[in-house]
């Protein structure tokens, strides 16, 4: 029987989908039965998503933000002077 500590050890491989089949089944049985691991994993996963959504590169496409010309001018000037 897998323990919470085992679940912790296998968690990243589980999220990557790289756990061997038999281990994944044992992992999922524990999580289904464990009232602490279920919310733990939900929160662990959410922490990863929060970081990704805040910091990841936005998808390709035209910039929707207004670009102040004076900012571009200041950047080009600082590069010229460097």
């Amino acid at each position: 029987m897998m323990t919470c500590k085992d679940v912790e050890r296998f968690l990243d491989d589980y999220l990557d989908g790289s756990l061997p089949f038999a281990t994944r089944i044992r992992f999922e049985i524990h999580v289904r039965m464990c009232a602490e691991c279920r919310p733990y994993i939900a929160r662990y996963r959410r922490a990863i998503e929060l970081g990704h959504k805040l910091l990841a590169e936005p998808p390709e496409g035209p910039a929707s933000e207004a670009v102040p010309q004076e900012l571009i001018d200041v950047i080009l000037k600082s590069i010229d002077e460097s």
Binding site: T3, Y40, R43, Y44, R46, L50, A56, E57, V67, L76
Partner: protein, 195 residues
């Protein structure tokens, strides 16, 4: 024209500045507390990019390379301003009893990330938590979870073994989970608890 060629001389670099300032500014606005800070970060990122342009080998897209520089500039600025020390990760790891059961009780399942990030406090908490991870742990979170590269890629970039990269990533993620508990404290998607 290849990426490295576009960066090679000042005139072409100016085109890069004009093309990517809008995208970088959008990101900088999410990561800073004021418009002036956002502008400063974008300016500093382009200056750093210009000075280190010979290191750009063209394996990544120019936009991704610039994005990474900008994120590092913004996080560095957070660290310098807060004067808070790096987090002690040992205190932020989960604990287990002698039977291997979790000791600390978990809160309810959190709301969706997109919903949580609508709050400025959450965005600040996420930014600050990542900024204050120890350097090696912050780097692996940026490579794996932000840029979406593999553990093997991260290990190569950080010159560590894949096994060490896995351990480092897990400790960083567990610490972030703990640091972001207050931001996730609202009851949300109950479906996560049923999975």
């Amino acid at each position: 024209m290849t990426g490295p060629a576009r960066l090679s001389d000042p005139k072409r670099f100016a085109e890069v500045v004009k093309q990517y300032t809008g995208r970088l500014l959008a990101t900088a606005r999410r990561l800073t507390d004021s418009e002036a800070d956002a502008h400063d970060c974008v300016q500093e990122a382009f200056l750093l990019a210009y000075r280190s342009r010979s290191q750009f080998e063209g394996r990544a897209k120019i936009s991704s390379w610039l994005h990474r520089i900008l994120v590092n500039v913004a996080l560095e600025r957070v660290r310098k301003r807060s004067r808070r020390p790096e987090e002690a990760l040992e205190d932020l790891q989960p604990t287990f009893d002698e039977r291997g059961c979790r000791v600390e009780s978990q809160g309810p399942a959190p709301a969706e990330a997109q919903v949580l990030l609508e709050r400025a406090e959450t965005r600040t908490a996420v930014r600050d938590a990542i900024a204050h991870l120890p350097e090696g742990h912050r780097e692996i979170v940026l490579i794996r979870d932000i840029e979406g590269k593999t553990t093997a890629d991260a290990a190569r970039e950080l010159s560590i073994t894949q096994s060490a990269a896995r351990v480092r990533l897990h400790r960083a993620r567990a610490a972030l989970k703990r640091l972001l508990e207050p931001a996730m404290g609202v009851a949300g998607d109950k479906e996560d608890n049923k999975r």
